[in-house]
């Protein structure tokens, strides 16, 4: 036997030995179901979407009209797509720079275990429990120019009522406000859990060293809940990229397509108009963006843990 052949034989023997070990047997037993589910429900739809994005296809029958990257060209040349990207980025920025600090501020006020704090935590968390569609409907009543709370407010100030959700200048701001209201409780709860896990002695030690309340937060609490802030930020970014079901009952993307997010854009211009190839192209672009965020997050997390 030549040297190369003997090395190959010993390698295959060691792989076989690994598979026969108890760890190997566990892998053989546990991996196939997970692999099958992942393939069926994640990998295959992804590849399908990527495939369909290369066709002009209405969703019926087999896609035959191959158009190459033309769907992507159309998407990238569509002004409303860029408007939806801009809107998504606004939501993302508001989530990261207004919603998370707000959630952290409130978490710092209510994280200690007292009956009053428990009540406040419940109240702040309630919007998150409500279904998105229900939240959208509730706020559409609030913003209603005829009978809503906003209308009453304007009237009480002696102003003419404004139909906020029908106004190009105000509609997306209103959506952003609802997103802020709906999800800040979720982030607050993540921060509350993290803050409760910070040992009390560390806060006391900081106080003894002369740290004021703000300095305890800045130098002790925030660094120690860094991982939770990272997770929260990740959820905020992914949630912003996927924002859909609050927008539909509030504005359905209007007025004049000014309040679309990437997903409502996909839904409106891809699904409802039976342009599955076009919609798939938007989906692929959204997927690439989400993967980019995930890789960035993983890198940051790994860097932080080193």
């Amino acid at each position: 036997m030549s040297n190369a052949a003997s090395i190959r034989a010993s390698k295959s023997n060691s792989i076989l030995a690994d598979l026969m070990s108890s760890k190997g047997q566990a892998v053989l037993l546990m991996l196939p179901p997970a692999f099958l589910l992942f393939t069926l429900f994640v990998a295959l739809p992804l590849f399908d979407a990527a495939y369909y994005s290369l066709f002009k296809w209405n969703g019926y029958g087999t896609p035959t009209d191959f158009v190459g990257l033309d769907n992507f060209r159309q998407v990238l040349n569509h002004g409303i797509f860029w408007q939806s990207v801009r809107n998504t980025l606004i939501v993302l920025a508001v989530s990261l720079f207004i919603q998370l600090p707000l959630a952290l501020g409130l978490a710092l006020m209510v994280y200690e275990k007292t009956p009053a704090n428990t009540l406040f935590r419940l109240v702040f968390f309630l919007p998150y429990i409500l279904a998105e569609i229900a939240s959208g409907l509730i706020w559409s009543f609030v913003f209603d120019g005829n009978a809503g709370v906003a209308s009453a407010l304007f009237k009480s100030l002696g102003m003419n009522p404004v139909f906020i959700l029908a106004d190009r200048h105000w509609a997306f701001l209103a959506i952003t406000l609802v997103v802020l209201w709906k999800y800040f409780g979720f982030h607050m709860m993540i921060f509350v859990a993290a803050l409760q896990s910070v040992p009390k002695e560390l806060l006391e030690a900081a106080r003894l060293e002369g740290a004021k309340r703000w300095e305890v937060v800045r130098f002790v609490q925030v660094p120690l809940i860094g991982a939770a802030i990272g997770v929260s930020a990740f959820f905020a970014v992914v949630g912003s990229l996927q924002l859909f079901d609050v927008v539909i009952p509030l504005t359905n993307g209007g007025p004049s397509n000014s309040t679309h997010t990437i997903v409502t854009y996909l839904y409106t211009f891809g699904l409802t108009r039976t342009r599955i190839g076009f919609g798939s192209a938007v989906g692929v672009l959204l997927f690439i963006a989400a993967v980019g965020v995930s890789i960035f997050y993983q890198r940051q997390t790994n860097r932080g843990s080193k």
């Binding site: 030690a205 106080r207 003894l208 060293e209 002369g210 740290a211 300095e215 130098f219 002790v220 660094p223």
Partner: protein
């Protein structure tokens, strides 16, 4: 340096009165140890001195200054916690100079103080490490270093050696004694370990159920316990406490005799059967089931004994302690 005066301190948590009414004087430069069983209020008392708990009533003075309502950082104290309370995201150096950075101490001065503390505590090679990369003893030294750099008037220690293994605890005990000798600062130290109390303190405060049982020098407490509680708490193995006829004959409700003050021999007045003997090399501890109840006897050196053997013994009369029905010492 400063003395600490606690006057009529009361602490109540909801409906539970942890400390009813306590007055204590901690002399300037002393090493005072608060000792007592779990839940006796010693840590609560220390936290009140630190300013981490406010007394429900009473007054706390440090160096003649009323600090009862003063912020912890303004009291001139520093505290070492049982859990060390080191900031895990900071290096040893950043942990030590945290307070100095907050108080905006000039960099040169800060560096000087950190270097001095690191030298005293042998921390120089560890300054750039994070707490997770340190052993228990090293972490404890960093916590002490953080206290030292602030030049406090009073050092407070809350069971600082409890998380260390026996060997390291002995070593750190010696280091703490050295530190007190070197700094001559007032130190208040909480422990439930009476060996720490006996070896470190110049003044021991024995606490029970939020009250002070006795205050005194270690040997004073050992030789002249004023209450049954102190008699039973100070000393290891514990003092033998005997009630009944034998005590009544001596005009007491209870008599106490330390294990080393029982003499074995053929002329002994009392008899007992050896239940078990512990051979420690330098001494032997014998547990005897006697007609006076279970007794512990300490014998110098390694004494060969057989389980079940009948032994005769007597008490060294000059070392007997007598207590009345309320548990107070009869002079």
């Amino acid at each position: 340096m400063a003395n600490v005066e606690l006057s009529n301190i009361n602490k109540t948590f909801g409906a539970i009165e942890t400390i009813p009414d306590l007055t204590l004087s901690v002399p300037d430069g002393s090493f005072t140890v608060l000792v007592g069983p779990s839940g006796c209020g010693k840590s609560t008392l220390l936290r009140m001195v630190a300013g981490l708990e406010a007394p429900s009533r009473g007054k706390i003075s440090i160096g003649g200054r009323d600090v009862t309502r003063e912020e912890p950082s303004k009291r001139g104290i520093s505290m070492v916690f049982q859990s060390y309370a080191l900031f895990p995201h900071m290096t040893v150096e950043q942990n030590i100079d945290f307070g100095l950075r907050l108080s905006k101490t000039p960099t040169k001065e800060r560096q000087k103080r950190v270097d001095a503390a690191a030298e005293i505590l042998h921390l120089q090679p560890l300054l750039k490490r994070k707490p997770a990369a340190l052993s228990g003893g090293q972490r404890q030294r960093v916590a002490i270093g953080r206290s030292i750099v602030r030049n406090p008037d009073v050092f407070l220690f809350d069971e600082p050696l409890s998380n260390l293994d026996a060997a390291l605890r002995n070593q750190m005990r010696v280091e703490l004694a050295d530190l007190h000798e070197r700094l001559k600062s007032t130190m208040i130290y909480v422990t439930h370990d009476q060996v720490e109390a006996m070896t470190l303190a110049d003044q021991i405060v024995v606490m029970n159920a939020g009250r002070i049982e006795q205050v005194g020098a270690p040997m004073e407490l050992y030789n002249r316990p004023q209450t049954l509680f102190v008699a039973g708490f100070i000393g290891s193995p514990r003092m033998n406490l005997i009630t009944g006829e034998a005590a009544a004959k001596l005009g007491a409700t209870t008599i106490g005799v330390r294990p080393e003050h029982i003499e074995l021999g053929a002329h002994g007045l009392w008899k007992g059967r050896l239940r078990v003997a512990e051979h420690l090399g330098n001494e032997t501890i014998a547990y005897i089931d006697s007609e006076l109840g279970e007794l512990i006897v300490r014998i110098n050196g390694d004494q060969k004994m057989k389980t079940g053997e009948v032994l005769q013994f007597q008490f060294l009369q000059e070392h007997l302690h007598r207590f009345d029905e309320s548990g107070r010492r009869i002079p």
